[in-house]
Point group: C2
Chain length 441, copies 2
Amino acid sequence: MSTLFTNAWVLTVDTAMTEHSTGWVHVEGSTIEAMGAGPAPALAGAEIIDCDGDIIMPGMVNTHCHMGMSVFRGLAEDVDDRLYRYILPLERKFVTAEMVRIGSALSALEMIEGGVTSVADMYYFESEVGKVAAEAGLRAIVGQTLADFNAPDHADFEQGFARVEALVDAFAGHPLITPSIAPHAPYSTGLAVMERIAQWADAHPHVPVQIHLAESQLEVDWAQENHQASSVSVVRQSGLLRPGLIAAHCLHLSDADIALMEEAAAGVATNPRSNGKAGRGIARIEALRLAGIPVGIGTDGPMSGNTLDLFAQFAPVSMFAKLLAGSRKPLPARDVIRMATIEGARVLGLADRTGSIEPGKQADLIRISLSAARLQPIYDPYSMLVFAAGPTDVTDVMVAGRWLKRAGVVQTLEPKKILRDAMQIACAFKAEMIRIDGETA
Amino acid sequence: MSTLFTNAWVLTVDTAMTEHSTGWVHVEGSTIEAMGAGPAPALAGAEIIDCDGDIIMPGMVNTHCHMGMSVFRGLAEDVDDRLYRYILPLERKFVTAEMVRIGSALSALEMIEGGVTSVADMYYFESEVGKVAAEAGLRAIVGQTLADFNAPDHADFEQGFARVEALVDAFAGHPLITPSIAPHAPYSTGLAVMERIAQWADAHPHVPVQIHLAESQLEVDWAQENHQASSVSVVRQSGLLRPGLIAAHCLHLSDADIALMEEAAAGVATNPRSNGKAGRGIARIEALRLAGIPVGIGTDGPMSGNTLDLFAQFAPVSMFAKLLAGSRKPLPARDVIRMATIEGARVLGLADRTGSIEPGKQADLIRISLSAARLQPIYDPYSMLVFAAGPTDVTDVMVAGRWLKRAGVVQTLEPKKILRDAMQIACAFKAEMIRIDGETA
């Protein structure tokens, strides 16, 4: 199957940031065959998509998410003890394979709507997340979480490891889904278990490791009290600080921590809206990037960051870098778009196949309509994408040559059923919250 | 003409934050007649709008804008000297009554699309802004700017005052448009002229005063060097710090400055995205609000803040308050919505007629569709509005009982013509920028 996008404003996001203000992209099967400027070449048998001047760019990469948690979206907002008061009790009572399936489907729907084509996820019952992502047609790293706090799908680490093994077996060789192991965080895994995970990961070099790292003051204090070291140092000591580690948040980093992460060739998923909303702080993105560490953008789970498109993260990630420096210059808009695409793909170990429009890469593409008044005029497409565009400007989404959204309509999921299922769960949550409030009143 | 909104989730944003999860609103002519919970009363001759569970809420109030500048949107992003290198030269060469008309029309279109029903504007050729806003059907405070830097429409303050007088005459008694006088900033007006403006304002008690205040380090230094005082103190000395003063930005405020502003009964327009993007800092919104000062949200001009809907400001204003405090608790979502509606109306002196759904107020209403996946589930409508909704969720907009947007279509403007005109200006700007870059290369 050949598809030829013509009359498109092509942003390739290759190393040279090659841009064709009027150009074309040729997709053959699941792969990008070629692209160029000017009128498209004749191509017998290809479906021609006239883009009418719209932008064609790489699909976006969400480097940190908890897809199952969309059913918690906006629950107990602005409450400091929401985690212990509501979230953990609700998770223990309600998180089942079915809930994860429903929450993940709602998240997949939202990500496709907003132009995300690759996602790194970590949660419980993660095999269900993999199934949903595969059906939806998303490219996904799916990480089974391991944690010591009586997690909903494993009473102890033995059960947790069994879930990891089952996940790895279920998706071995899958073209879109990469199984992953995800120790929750240093303080909720502990040094000994992190060492065991590091050994397991040594034996499974194609299984990426994800972890929440240097996210909170609680974690900093834990590392100091128990190991007289920084959180990054403890992870390094365990052997987990390694090439391809996907470290989410990284708010509390010293220069020495950054040097350790660079030396280990780890990657970072920054989650600006989640961190900002929690009042936790601003990640030192420019320092990480200057050190040569790949930094992608994550939405975090919808309980923390509310939405799963990357547009909502662009202004925050940009403003935070500029506020830290007291200048307009840091993290220019084109670098934000690189973080959202090719840099994110590097963080996830997927840069050989996605994140830019280059011959031989997978056809993970999105089309952005420029018809909204708020987008015009356009002096620079990256500025427009970062500071004016939104998820509703994404009209078409393709992953590996398959249409996930076409002419504004999601092709691979049933929105009505997904929303109905999600609202049913939300009703149960509401009832339980009323019960909790009653008990503590 | 009677209109009855039925089957609506009514957020009144009255003092008690009264909410009807299934309710109705009755509009009679330009005025809100009544509202309530449950099924709507029978009303002979009324047009019935079945809202199908969508939200009906007050139209939003944009407390600081430069509508004419939409044609500068995204120009020279990330460049520290953009103001002196590009913007001022472009303004001097290109800002005419026609350009202001075109830019303001594009801004009016965008604001209506995104649910803004009232705006405070300050720029040049401001009579044109008033005409455009009136035609578009927006409620607007239109402020003729006075500045000493060879402004595009006045060579000196005499000419500037003549423009103010003409503006006041042109819109005397207009039901939607309130003329205003807008000294650009303390450093660009000077103490003597601010004194003159204060006297003029004493003689015109119904003409609100707008000013950029405590916006930059440059201004702080100016006040210190020339008057050995804070910028707020200098404005107070001039007599301009007064009830109803609309002070935009207010980034550099000491506790003493806040006390002076509270004592004077001035209001503040905070512009979080504009301030964040410029790397200028975070306004102490919670301190201002605790002092009893009304604080509304502004978009600033589209050159600084890019977009003109308030949704794009919600996460930044909220995150900034939480980051300053290091906690999730400050500025809860419902307070953000109050700032975007009734508090903004208070800042603009319009709270007697807009900003909440109450009997006798003007029918300035918007309808928000809840159909997008990213909005669901909804545990709290204010959290949904602040952290998940966007301008494209606004389906209907009414000001003073007149439909400005209906079923997704703007009723009072011609989008195609506006966009064509704006793009023509953008072409001229691009050519001039290339010339400037050539000269300085």
